[in-house]
């Protein structure tokens, strides 16, 4: 008879365990129920990709501000960095745990998220509050609009350019290159002047490679072919320009040094900021970070023209990033979105983080230094913009190019082999 209580205890433990599993699930879907059942607290899950300073504190502060203004709202924030963000958001989408408001890149990254049917259409939100929505630069909506439906509010604008150390250029009597051949000459001169790796890059971050390749392809491949190849349904990647482009990248890696495949972009940026390397391919978003490291005098030039390149010679690579809402997000999340993209927040954001924003009148000489204002001008005046390559093409294609880029740097492969793999993958994706 003694065995029965023991058995009961076992069963009890088992039930408790199962119940605990259930309770977990209950909590996660609690937001929407809270809105209906309990007017007191609305929980908003907010997910962004800046666990690093200065943006982390900025958003923490903004969350607090919003919660003080709206005492019935509780915002749960989570954040992970760049590459991890891309992975985590996919896991969240597949697991039906999409946060209410979160950051997204434009173009194919946004399109992928939209295809899950879990993203809120913002057409009504935009047309119902013209005071707020007309403040955002219209041209920046493009990357978030698919079939005339807008799914995201652009917030930051960006562009990629070579940052150079003006002092080093002056010391060695080097002029800013305007063509690719001149650029190589400049790199050679810098090497002679004792800079072993004049064009360092953190190639462990594969997106850094994709930024290079995206711009190079935009220079050397005809726009119509690019458009066809970047589309998953029609992509072939048979143009000889891709080989030329990969060869150019391989040539550039010889100026990046052995160290480049072992460090990340942040390390490379620190080297530039400390004046150890003269040139680095960076985003305008990084201006403030460089200024914070040391007092290097920065100049920038766009990726130079490629003589006999068939592509667009003056386009600027860069695309906006913005905010998206989950389909089930409460109306308070919409308010929070408006709060995040208001002129005041944008002005303060650019002042704190140094990154340029897509809100009209929120980038002035009052909140940015001359360098950033110059960059803002370049972005606004760019003849055309090329999207980030890893967002422009299917990730399977991008991955072959990006890993291939690493292998080019370590001399394990050839441009022809990479392109062959890409063509096979493109063929597979068409089906």
């Amino acid at each position: 008879m003694k065995k029965v209580p023991g058995l009961l205890v076992m069963l009890l433990i088992f039930i408790v365990i199962l119940a605990a599993c259930n309770a977990d699930k209950g909590n996660e879907s609690a937001n929407s129920e809270d809105t209906v059942g309990n007017e007191d607290i609305v929980e908003i899950n907010f997910f962004h990709r800046w666990p690093n300073e200065p943006r982390k504190s900025f958003y923490d502060e903004k969350i607090k501000e919003f919660m003080d203004e709206n005492p019935n709202v509780k915002i749960n924030v989570d954040s992970v960095l760049n590459d991890s963000y891309k992975e985590k958001i996919k896991v969240l989408v597949s697991g039906n745990k999409l946060p209410d408001i979160f950051t997204s890149w434009s173009d194919s990254f946004a399109q992928n998220l939209v295809s899950s049917n879990k993203i809120m259409s913002l057409n009504d939100v935009i047309s119902n509050d013209k005071d707020w929505s007309s403040k955002i630069i219209e041209s920046q909506y493009g990357g978030f609009t698919f079939d005339d439906v807008t799914y995201g509010i652009p917030f930051t604008v960006d562009g990629k350019a070579f940052f150079y150390n003006k002092e080093i250029f002056k010391e060695n009597n080097i002029a800013v290159p305007t063509t690719y051949d001149e650029f190589i000459e400049v790199l050679n001169k810098l090497q002679e002047a004792g800079y072993k790796e004049p064009l360092v890059e953190g190639l462990t971050n594969t997106w850094a490679i994709s930024h290079y390749l995206g711009t190079i392809f935009d220079r050397v491949v005809e726009p119509s072919i690019l458009e066809k190849d970047y589309n998953q349904e029609t992509g072939e990647f048979t143009d000889a320009g891709y080989i030329t482009g990969l060869e150019m990248f391989q040539e550039l890696t010889t100026y990046m040094g052995d160290v480049s495949t072992a460090i990340d972009h942040e390390a490379a940026r620190n080297m530039f900021g400390n004046g150890e390397v003269p040139i680095l391919y960076m985003q305008f978003a990084e201006i403030k970070m460089v200024e914070d490291i040391g007092d290097v005098e920065i100049g920038f030039f766009n990726f130079p023209e490629v003589s006999n390149g068939k592509g667009n010679q003056t386009s600027l690579t860069g695309a906006p990033e913005g905010w998206m809402l989950s389909k089930n997000a409460p109306k308070e999340a919409v308010e929070f979105l408006k709060f995040l993209t208001s002129e005041e927040t944008a002005f303060e954001f650019t002042k704190t983080a140094g990154q340029l924003n897509a809100v009209k009148g929120a980038v002035t000489s009052e909140n940015v230094k001359a360098n950033s204002l110059e960059a803002y001008d370049i972005i606004m005046k760019a003849s055309s913009t090329a999207p980030w390559f890893d967002n422009a093409v299917n990730i399977n294609i991008a991955d072959i190019f990006m890993r291939g880029g690493q292998e080019l740097a370590t001399r394990q492969t050839t441009p022809e082999e990479i392109l062959k793999a890409v063509q096979q993958e493109a063929e597979k994706l068409k089906k």
Binding site: K3, L7, M10, L11, I13, F14, D83, K86, E87, K90, V91, V93, S94, N112, L113, S115, S116, N117, L203, T204, T206, D258, V259, S260, T261, A262, I263, A267, I395, N396, D399, R403, G404, Q406, E407, A409, T410, Q412, T413
Partner: protein
């Protein structure tokens, strides 16, 4: 008489079954069901975003055979297994024997703790730590090599296509050796002292005693450790994922990292399931071979 035994036997069967039930249920829900579902998934093509799955039959498995990365990853897993066998099984056994030797009686407890500490540190922390050690600019390893005049050997460890996988493996050895050593120490302590005394009387030296008494006596533990090490090597994910993410190129890719990347980076959930099935098959085969070879439990 015989019938009576049978009744008791049958009666007794109900209670034990009930006792096993919770664990069977838990195993079923969390292990067997996902296993079957994973196998089922590998016949479909779907991404994390898509609400529907497309049936593709054996296409994913066919592609497994053509995928060059699978070969690289599998070879890396094998390298992992071989190196781990040498360090974690062979070397750990020697280490355990030394620690249990009379000469080390005084310091052994302290050393045991020292060797065991890495096991208790989170793998993410260790990987970040080794990221600093391997750092090409200010890393401890390269600074040390330069200090002793071997600057020619100072390479960017994680950025070099040949060295990266070994750098990753080395970190695992550092971390896991303490755990395996601990298991061996326990096994060695259980060996009857009489055996060693008899060997002493026979005039056997330390090496002879190790080979003729310690090794045969810890055979069972050796088998368990081999199993842990080899299945561990087939499944290894954290170390390469955090240190190199499989790069540069695919040079330090392992099967698990490849699976993860196919699933969560490249959105090929179906193919990732096929890779997972392959990993399961490999691990199961290795485990079966070992069980057959060592004929565990049949000695007594």
């Amino acid at each position: 008489m015989r019938e009576g035994v049978c009744v008791i036997y049958r009666k007794k069967q109900v209670i034990p079954t009930l006792f096993i039930l919770p664990s069977i249920l838990l195993l079923g829900i969390f292990i067997y069901f996902p296993l079957v579902q994973n196998f089922y998934n590998s016949f479909f093509d779907f991404s994390v975003f898509s609400p529907t799955k497309e049936y593709i039959g054996f296409a994913a498995f066919k592609y497994l055979l053509q995928d060059k990365v699978i070969v690289i990853a599998f070879l890396n897993n094998i390298k992992y297994a071989v190196v781990s066998m040498v360090f974690q099984v062979a070397f750990a056994l020697i280490l355990a024997t030394i620690l249990e030797d009379k000469l080390f009686r005084r310091v052994a407890p302290a050393l045991r703790i020292i060797y065991f500490i890495p096991v208790m540190i989170s793998i993410s922390v260790i990987a970040l730590l080794f990221g600093f050690i391997y750092n090409p600019q200010m890393g401890l390893l390269n600074s040390f090599l330069e200090l002793i005049g071997l600057e020619n050997f100072a390479i960017p460890w994680l950025g070099n296509a040949t060295a990266s996988i070994y750098a990753v493996i080395a970190m695992s050895q550092w971390q896991s050796i303490g755990f395996i050593t601990m298991l061996f120490i326990v096994a060695i302590q259980k060996i009857p002292k009489e055996l060693y005394e008899a060997a002493d009387i026979d005039g056997a030296g330390k090496v002879r005693r190790f080979l003729s008494i310690t090794v045969p006596q810890v055979k069972e533990t050796m088998f368990v450790n081999t199993l842990i090490t080899i299945t561990g090597a087939m499944l290894v994910f954290n170390e390469p994922y955090i240190l190199t993410n499989g790069g540069p190129g695919f040079s330090s890719m392992t099967l698990s990292v490849h699976m993860y990347q196919q699933g969560f980076v490249k959105d090929n959930m179906g193919y990732a399931s096929a890779v997972a099935t392959l990993i399961f098959a490999l691990t199961a085969i290795f485990a079966l071979i070992q069980i057959k070879v060592s004929r565990t439990g049949k000695d007594e």
